[in-house]
């Protein structure tokens, strides 16, 4: 499925989680590696990339699994690359139901820079709104 929870053994449950969604599993994993290098284990993190057959693309089940893996009661910020990654992420978020979906944000920010900046913000215990706003400052 090309989705993986890049879960630390004991992330702070208070910190916002980060999900990375790319058409390419290599890009998604690489971006997650950069996030992990930046913030270590203190932020829940998961990535997903590729279609159901493992080719370039995105798929809802993979995104849903990544959201579960990075789930935090503080919320989850999702970073996407191209169009289908965004709309498939929207479908995955809606399937969480209204209560949990309200705690997930799909960020309008560049995938790599956005995820790294957001994770840095999240590692300090910021709220989901603050994490998202900080990442979205990259896309004026």
């Amino acid at each position: 499925m090309n989705a993986r929870a890049d879960q630390p053994s004991a992330p702070s449950p208070a910190n916002v989680g980060i999900v990375i969604v790319s058409h390419s599993p290599l890009v998604a994993k690489g971006a997650a590696d950069m996030v992990r290098q930046m913030v270590g284990d203190c932020v829940p993190l998961a990535w997903t990339g590729g279609n159901v057959e493992g080719g370039l693309g995105t798929h809802v089940a993979g995104i849903a699994a990544a959201i579960e893996a990075a789930w935090s009661e503080a919320g989850v910020a999702i970073f996407v690359d191209l169009g289908g990654a965004e709309t498939n992420s929207e479908m995955a978020v809606e399937r969480l139901g209204p209560a949990r979906a309200a705690r997930v944000a799909i960020c309008n920010a560049p995938l790599v820079e956005g995820a790294v900046v957001a994770a840095a913000e999240a590692s300090g215990g910021s709220s989901l709104a603050k994490v998202v706003a900080t990442a979205e400052e990259l896309s004026p």
């Binding site: 279609n51 159901v52 057959e53 080719g55 370039l56 693309g57 995105t58 798929h59 809802v60 089940a61 191209l82 169009g83 289908g84 709309t87 498939n88 929207e90 479908m91």
Partner: protein, 210 residues
């Protein structure tokens, strides 16, 4: 338009065959202005629906359409998955909850639910008329339903609407990155939408209620 359980299974088989037959063409259209996977994605989606066709056809029509939409979302992937999935799921939700086999008595029974479903697709894709998407087929097809046009006319309308996306410049999706170079190529989503519409209309032309 009399839709019984057997009809729905037959329609699914027909749509799957149509997409299978034209898969290479759809991917070629997508290669010209996108990433070349539309045929493979649509085939994967329709195969998954086809595999479930008997269980789907046993459901009340609204639930059946919602299920088809969900299976499409989970299997097509790409940009088309959320669009086709939203179309079918919202169409199912827009029908009366207890609509069953045979309850859709005429094409205009579908016009209002389809209008709602198309509006949901437009919101999902943040698109409108003239953006060179499958919406450019869906809007005129829905208008034909409002006019109570016969199935053959609706199919012809769908085909010509898909052709009419050729001269459009893409404003959504990957094709929009090409700017003016997207002009001159038929949109693959509009093309698959016209193929499916024509296949469904062909079925209803052959199986008119007597």
């Amino acid at each position: 338009m009399h839709l019984a359980a057997a009809d729905l299974a037959a329609l699914i088989a027909l749509c799957r065959a149509e997409i299978d037959r034209h898969g290479e063409h759809l991917s070629a259209l997508d290669s010209a202005i996108g990433d070349g996977d539309h045929g493979a994605n649509m085939r994967r989606g329709l195969e998954a629906v086809f595999a479930e066709r008997d269980a789907i056809a046993a459901l009340p029509l609204p639930a059946a359409l919602e299920r088809i939409g969900l299976v499409l979302v989970m299997n097509i992937g790409g940009a088309a998955g959320p669009l086709y999935g939203t179309l079918l799921m919202e169409l199912g939700r827009a029908l009366p909850g207890d609509a069953g086999a045979g309850d859709l008595a005429a094409p205009d029974d579908l016009a209002a639910p389809l209008e709602r479903a198309i509006a949901a697709v437009a919101r999902r894709g943040r698109s409108g008329p003239g953006d060179k998407t499958l919406l450019d087929v869906l809007y005129p097809v829905q208008a034909e339903l409002v006019r109570r046009s016969p199935p053959g006319d609706i199919a012809a309308c769908a085909r010509s609407a898909a052709h009419s996306t050729g001269p459009m410049q893409a404003r959504r999706g990957r094709a929009s990155f090409l700017g003016a170079r997207s002009i001159g190529h038929e949109d693959p989503g509009a093309s698959s939408c016209a193929l499916l519409t024509a296949a469904i209309c062909g079925y209803f032309e052959e199986h008119r209620p007597s």
